[in-house]
Amino acid sequence: MAESHPDLLWSSPEPRGSYDVVIVGGGGHGLFTAYYLAANHGITNVAVLERGWLGGGNAVRNTTVIRSNYLWDESAAIYEHSLKLWEGLAAELDYDILFDQRGVLNLAHNLGDAREGVRRVNANRLNGVDAEWLDADGVRAFCPVVNTDPGIRYPVLGATLQRRGGIARHDALVFAVARAAAGLGVHLIQGCEVTGIEVTDGAVRAVQTNRGRIAAGRVGLCAAGHSSVVAGLAGVELPIQSHPLQALVSELLEPVLGCVVMSNAVHVYVSQAHKGELVMGAGIDTYNSYAQRGSFHVIEHQMAAALELFPIFARAHVLRTWAGIVDVCPDASPIVGGTPVDDLFVNCGWGTGGFKATPGSGWVFAWTLAHGEPHELNRSFSLERFETGALIDEHGAAAVAH
């Protein structure tokens, strides 16, 4: 499959002693932030510091569900902004990222789910986000392999459908945005662990790394599951908890599932990737962890639930299971903005649903780093909201907000 990738991706420069902006974390959020700093704001003296390898965390461990049908206005705006970016990304980055708008179904299994689904569809439409409500017959017509037998334990009463939602190829996205950023002069520095953050007179001055001190005009933290640890280096506390989130993949199969199907009530979200494998996510493990692994019973329950909805999958095999570390916020919404330390900004808390947001997240975070204050789209996603109480609580909308 190497043929589908270009001949040159990026080079690996030695770090300079100083950058205008240093981004900590070379995942999707960090890479897009760097790319848009260069592409939209002309700030190219930028380094992305990655402890391991680019995109080695959640960027390539997620199930690539892309949608924007969030309930609250603030969420719908930022995720819809992201989805619009996705729609132009292959052309903008000149890379086949296999973005495929095959539609995302969110199933409703009880009257509460259905009420919530209708509420979300109505809100989405008024926010300019495409959304439809399907009854059980509509679900069957759109996705015939979903078991719509009314006699199953959690029968399908209906679903929300976002036709513009879909999937993409995650590692291609990492390659694409990293290449684009590097092409604009951004330094991608791998194997570079931030071990300290220098704060003087209430402002950030530099980061200490295993490859030496790097001075920075502004620092943006995009460390996902490690956000608490990295922010802690600057004495900044975050209302974040890190948990394992497991996923699994089957062997390559002839086409069987043509859209993305999600069910919060029974913790299933699944799609069939372009190559042909079923990609499925499980529920979050309850305990805090940085181990990138979860417990077997979560997978076991996941399989039983999946077969309730998709009996056709019974004979498929699980080839691999794995886990990412998700940074979960109390209101299941991200934190994108300033910190009590001047010139230190944070982009975290995307929890279980960050992949879809990466272009939008990078776009607003780049704006924020360039201007030193939040863009209109991320103004509400501030740390201050935990003090004022102005939370953006997407729990009610989706217990597992993938």
């Binding site: 009420r115 109505n122 390659f175 004979r315 080839l319 004022t388 109480g389």
Partner: protein, 849 residues
Amino acid sequence: MRRLADGGRLDRSTTLAVTWDGREIEAHPGDTLASALLAAGITEVARSTVHGRPRGIVSAGAEEPCAYVQVDAPRSEPLVAATLVEAVDGLVAAPLAGFGRLAGDDLERHDRRHHHCDVLVVGGGTAGAAEARRAAAAGLRVVWAERDTGPLPDLGDDALCLSRTTAVGSYDDNLVMLVERVSSTRRRMWQVRAGEVVLATGAHERPLVFAGNDLPGVMLAGAARTYLERFALVPERAVVFTTNDAGTETAEALRAAGAAVTLVDARAGHAVVAAEGEGRLRSVLVAPIATPADAERVECELLAVSGGFEPVLDLHRHRRGGVRWDAPRACFVPHGTVRNQRIVGTAMGDGLPTVAALWLVPGGEERHAYVDLQRDVTVTDLRRAVGAGLESIEHVKRYTLVGTGVDQGRTAKTNAAAIAAGLLGREIAEIGTSTTRPPVEPVSFAVLAGRARGPRFEPVRTTPIHAWHVNHGAVFEDVGQWKRPWYYPQPGEDMDAAVLRECAAARTGVAMMDASTLGKIDIQGPDSAEFLNRLYTNSYDTLRVGRCRYGLLCRADGMVFDDGVVTRVAEDRFFATTTTGGAAAVLDWMEEWLQTEWPELRVHLTSVTEQWQTVAVVGPRSRDLLSSAFGAIDFSNEAFPFMTFRDTTFHKRFPARVSRVSFSGELAYEVSVPSDAGRLLWLGLWKAGEPLGVTAYGTETMHVLRAEKGFVIVGQDTDGTVTPIDLGMDWIVSKTKPFVGRRSLTRPDTARPDRKQLVGLLPDDPSVRLDEGAQLVLDPEQAPPVTMIGHVTSSYRSAALGRTFALALVRSGRERLGEPVYSPGADGITAARVVEPVFYDAEGLRRDG
């Protein structure tokens, strides 16, 4: 290859009917599908996924990179290694091109078994056998698992010895998953919690990379030997290409069995530069490694290759066990330990031969030199990846897909790392190897789901009165795990008609509902009132014995989380009800506060949800019904006022409690008896009500009745973002005592006057029912994004009002009373007017009947 007249571990007295690609081939018990195919002279068994090249059988085991087939009978399975499929009568299989086919649900029985032991030994070889015997002899509880088919010796009552069993995953604290092939169609998954895990998983061989190395007929040397010794299969002419003594031994064994063998030993400076043939191997080019152009052609049908051996360390890797590069044996061996796990024998690297370090034979065409046969990754692909600037093996893996196939790149990874290291000018030890993940071998979804299918998937909770509901035509609603009667349509009625009838009965006559699913908590101890004071928004020290009080619970963030009625049974004893869905969460929440924050409080909590069954009796004639059922009680308003209770007996022997509470605004009672009498109670009340025309009602009617009175349903009119103040329930929020969540109500955002507030809505057209979930706007003509001011939480047709109505959360709602709002929907705009959320009997006159 041909089958020798005798030899091998086969039962030749029996011939099995095996169908391959529509053609009958011969097999014997002891054969695998792979050996049967080789015996039948079939070398091409699959097409490669990307390049569409013919592929054959490379191994005799789980490391197989090529021979993935579709099995259609006796149990349909996509993409399984032919080397792992036991030949059975009626086996039907076919070649694949990398994509499996799903053939419907799998209703075969796949069982699950939990097991505990002191020692789990994985691997039935010499080292594993020694470990298992030693542990059993020491009186320990042993589990011994071997993936091969031969039975394991009996080690006594406390030993579980499982053949045909693969350990597929190792998890924290030594929980190991074993999959036992109980029969050709059934699997049993053992979940073994072991004090110690001993890995005796051996090693597997690795091929070499050269042009044309994917041709059918190119096989691992050890596999060639297995096919000879176990399956009595021998080639006419073979070339053995090796870097080590094991390959030399294979050459000798093949020769002894009558094959013409050419040995190409890399240690002597020679190599196979290329394999040739159309569709299958016909010849190889042999040359000195230093001068690959000086090649000599050797005809052969089999090329047996040994590049070295790799300890099988998947289970160790699942637990983040480390590895290090061992240069003499050219493989990764264990490094460091995993708690309570040991590795023994060849899995440690013990006894593995030293090898000449060779991966890629120079001189051949790199685009035909396959590193990963499963994913069709060639040396050219690796070169492109490195050329693109990639330095991490993980990036190379994602760029090329090397090691991501069904086989998890078992035979490909070390070669890939070594070749990439060469291209990068670095050491293989620096490059490392990507980790393996569970499961070790693919496990089907059905096997993982086990018996948790269909009726056993998740509990269906019902009350003892359930059969009555079913017999009376109830339509059920899922509330958590409970099935609750939603409404009881009579012949010819739709839901609207049934609900209007049930509502009318409750408002004008008498109606009954099964309320048994409400959560119930017994609260005892001298500090009970203080405890409830700290949790509920209102006070309980002021509640007199014998009386009931409605209460709200908030989380620490000030948002409403549950509600119910609290009854003071005695000075130091209370009884609290919760919502059906919130029952477990509320008890857990109370225990958490009690045990972790206020251990000094002398309070004990007990769930009595299922001790008591409860029937709600509602309507102006409910007093008549209950007077007839419980003659000993004076039901007059004076003797039995609202929000009080009476204890009595039912059927003379069951304790019963009658509470005068109302969730409908009507005169109403709730009667509770021990659950073993619940059905009798329902039948008894029904009988008492029949002369009064009693009607059964479900949750929908209950919802309509409460909404007419403006009573909220937590979870429907709230969504975790709503405070008691937002609901207009200031009257229940104490200003004088602290309670959990109170501080949150004075945060800047929660104290804002323009929050969303609960209001009533009356659609302009009284026949139009707003959708629950409809969004509300002030300007229906605005272009998106439209400013939304709230949404409809509950919406019904009302028999009592003779029209539709709704409850909604609306920004600054209480300031908008009388104002119009609009709901733009798919079918047009619905106009409505904001009103007080109490639609019926605002004066509360009906409560006393």
